[in-house]
């Protein structure tokens, strides 16, 4: 390698880049992306904290958020008069620890949001890309099926799926993905059509690249930014939808705590126990905020034109 270095200026890391296995490369790429954008960095930190507290902390403390204590109901948070450090964020109408329930409840909300985004995004990306790239009858079929899904009311879809399969976490994810893949597919299709007519696609065709290579190397990377932002906005939506469906009893069945169920139950006592709705609400807000920050930041960091010149 050293003789190359002098001759054509080849550096070892040039070749190393092509040699490393892709997971390692993807990881280092992700890290450098996060470092480029402060908002993505902050979002990622908050989100990591939230995920850690929801998935790890309750297990460490032996909390499941379901233990009741009827002798100790409506204890206010610790900073209010009558609060106690044993239940820092107070207790609810059945004497359950609000902090524990928020942490455990986050598991469902976050799982639902991430899984629904992953499924809907994948389906939408694949179908939308095919639709936009090939056009013609492929486009017509995919988009008409999409219209069918759009025309079907969300509540009706939910009720029919729940009636058919019963309420559960998996079914909730399926419903959200079914209801929302069209949003991605349509956005992707629009972006693909815009990119398809760019000169660099012509140029790749002129070189003789296969369609699947063109899609993989030229189309998808250039439509990812708006889709990523869309995904983070929708992820936030799913947390709210999950809350709404749980509120209506069509989400995850009790006694498993979720943020939505906590809101639903807490609203009865909103006048004399404000913390029952406010605190889960804040949890939802911070999660959504961090996801949005992350998405926005990633979009900017992924655009090479916005990259700072030099090192």
């Amino acid at each position: 390698m050293s003789q190359n270095q002098s001759a054509a200026g080849i550096r070892d890391d040039d070749l190393a880049m092509t040699r490393t296995a892709w997971p390692a490369r993807a990881w280092s790429a992700l890290c450098s992306l996060l470092l480029q954008s402060p908002s993505a960095f902050i979002g990622a930190i908050i989100l990591a904290l939230i995920i850690f507290s929801c998935f790890v902390v309750p297990t460490l403390l032996g909390q499941d958020g379901e233990a009741t204590n009827l002798l100790n109901t409506f204890v206010p948070p610790v900073w209010q008069e009558g609060g106690s450090w044993s239940v820092p964020l107070g207790t609810d109408n059945l004497g359950r620890d609000v902090l524990g329930r928020i942490l455990v409840g986050g598991r469902v909300s976050i799982t639902v949001a991430l899984c629904a985004v992953a499924i809907a995004l994948t389906v939408g990306l694949v179908l939308g890309t095919l639709s936009g790239f090939y056009g013609g009858w492929v486009d017509s079929i995919i988009m008409r099926v999409g219209d069918l899904f759009l025309a079907y009311p969300f509540m009706l879809l939910t009720i029919s799926v729940i009636a058919l399969l019963g309420p559960s976490l998996t079914n909730l994810i399926i419903i959200l993905a079914l209801a929302d893949w069209v949003t991605y597919a349509r956005t992707v299709r629009g972006s693909v059509i815009a990119v398809r007519n760019k000169d660099y696609i012509r140029s790749a065709e002129a070189i003789g690249a296969r369609n699947r290579t063109i899609i993989r190397r030229h189309v998808v990377p250039n439509i990812l930014a708006p889709i990523l932002v869309l995904a983070t906005v929708r992820a936030a939506n799913y947390i709210i939808w999950e809350s709404g469906l749980s509120f209506l009893g069509m989400g995850v069945p009790p006694p498993t705590p979720t943020w939505g169920i906590m809101l639903a139950e807490g609203r009865n006592y909103i006048l004399n126990a404000w913390w029952l709705v406010t605190l889960p609400g804040l949890a939802i807000m911070f999660t959504i905020l961090s996801v949005n920050l992350l998405g926005d930041g990633l979009r900017d960091a992924m655009d090479p034109r916005l990259k700072r010149v030099g090192k």
Binding site: I10, D14, K198, D199, A204, A209
Partner: protein, 340 residues
């Protein structure tokens, strides 16, 4: 062994217009309307014409980037008009194109190394190190610093980007490179550099060029032969020097006279073109040029002129030069031009 690299015969490409309500008639735009030419090895053919005359469509159609509706394309002795997608894909390594817009023709997410490497990764099975070596070589030969290979195209100036485009076209050592207005988007000073570079690379690698341009200066500088297009048809073809010294077709005369000369008193009267190019949806009958032609004859309105071969590779589509109209005699064009 064929001496000709590329032979295009009667190429037609038309675009369908949306149908009018209640109208059964399908209307077309004939962007390329029966064009024939041939190109030898290590030769440069220029295609000139006003905007909208079909020269870009022609350049794409002869690579089958847009599918021609009729005609025949023989490339390297092989008829590529009806090749299947896969066969055509393999053939593409011998024909490359340099685009006009050095800003839009690169994927903004790829680095220069990836961009120039793309033809290699599509057509060869070389390993990464060999390909990197080749990319650096070709970057050096088009005058780009190989150390810039990890930069993105937006970090380069227009001229440098066009060098990237040329490097990308050149890396597979193709037989044919089509330049679709390759220097029109560049500053005049950069233009000369790029044209010189292309000339020098042709001497080095022996590729044939088809240069599509409206820039007569560039064409005159780089092309051996030139074909003049008007409304989808070739009106005149010949060696560059002949065509520029003594243009025959009234349209060519108008084009060449339209080039501004840095002289106080032009030594000859200019015959500037008047009017706009007519719509290609409803082209004029007969000779397409007759409504703007200063020397139009009666039959120009009704009969489309055929090619008249004047020898020496010189061909012209004009009734003035048709054998029935006085053969190769000097036409009464000069008189007509002076009196008007």
């Amino acid at each position: 062994m064929h001496t000709k690299l590329l032979e295009v015969t009667n190429l037609v490409r038309r675009f369908e217009l949306p149908k009018r309500l209640f109208s059964k008639q399908q209307r077309y735009i004939h962007a390329v309307d029966g064009v024939s030419f041939s190109l030898g090895r290590a030769e440069t053919l220029g295609i000139v014409g006003e905007s909208g005359c079909g020269k870009t469509t022609l350049s794409r159609a002869m690579l089958r980037l847009v599918e021609p509706d009729a005609g025949k394309i023989v490339f390297r002795g092989r008829d590529i008009t009806h090749l299947s997608k896969e066969e055509l894909r393999a053939e593409r390594r011998h024909m490359q194109i340099v685009f006009q817009d050095p800003f839009g023709s690169f994927n903004p997410r790829m680095t220069v190394r990836q961009l120039i490497d793309e033809p290699l990764s599509v057509h060869t099975s070389d390993d990464a190190a060999t390909r990197l070596e080749k990319v650096r070589d070709v970057m050096a030969s088009v005058g780009l610093d190989p150390r810039l290979s990890e930069r993105h195209p937006h970090e380069f100036s227009g001229g440098q980007r066009q060098r990237i485009g040329i490097a990308r076209a050149l890396i597979l050592r193709p037989d044919l490179i089509i330049g679709d207005e390759p220097v029109s988007a560049l500053d005049v000073s950069i233009r000369a550099q790029i044209l010189n570079l292309m000339k020098q690379l042709q001497a080095e690698f022996g590729a044939s060029y088809v240069m599509v341009s409206h820039d007569l200066g560039a064409i005159r500088f780089i092309c051996h032969r030139v074909a003049v297009m008007y409304l989808g048809r070739v009106v005149e073809e010949g060696l560059t020097e002949d065509v520029f010294r003594e243009p025959l077709h009234p349209y060519t005369k108008g084009l060449i006279d339209a080039v501004p000369l840095p002289r106080l008193r032009p030594e000859r009267t200019r015959q500037l073109l008047v009017g706009e190019m007519p719509s290609p949806i409803n082209p004029p009958t007969g000779c397409h040029f007759h409504p703007r032609c200063p020397v139009a004859l009666k039959q120009c309105r009704t009969v489309a002129p055929g090619f008249t071969d004047l020898g020496g590779g010189r061909r012209v589509t004009c009734h003035l030069y048709a054998p029935t109209n006085g053969g190769h005699e000097p036409p009464p064009a000069e008189a007509g031009a002076k009196s008007s």
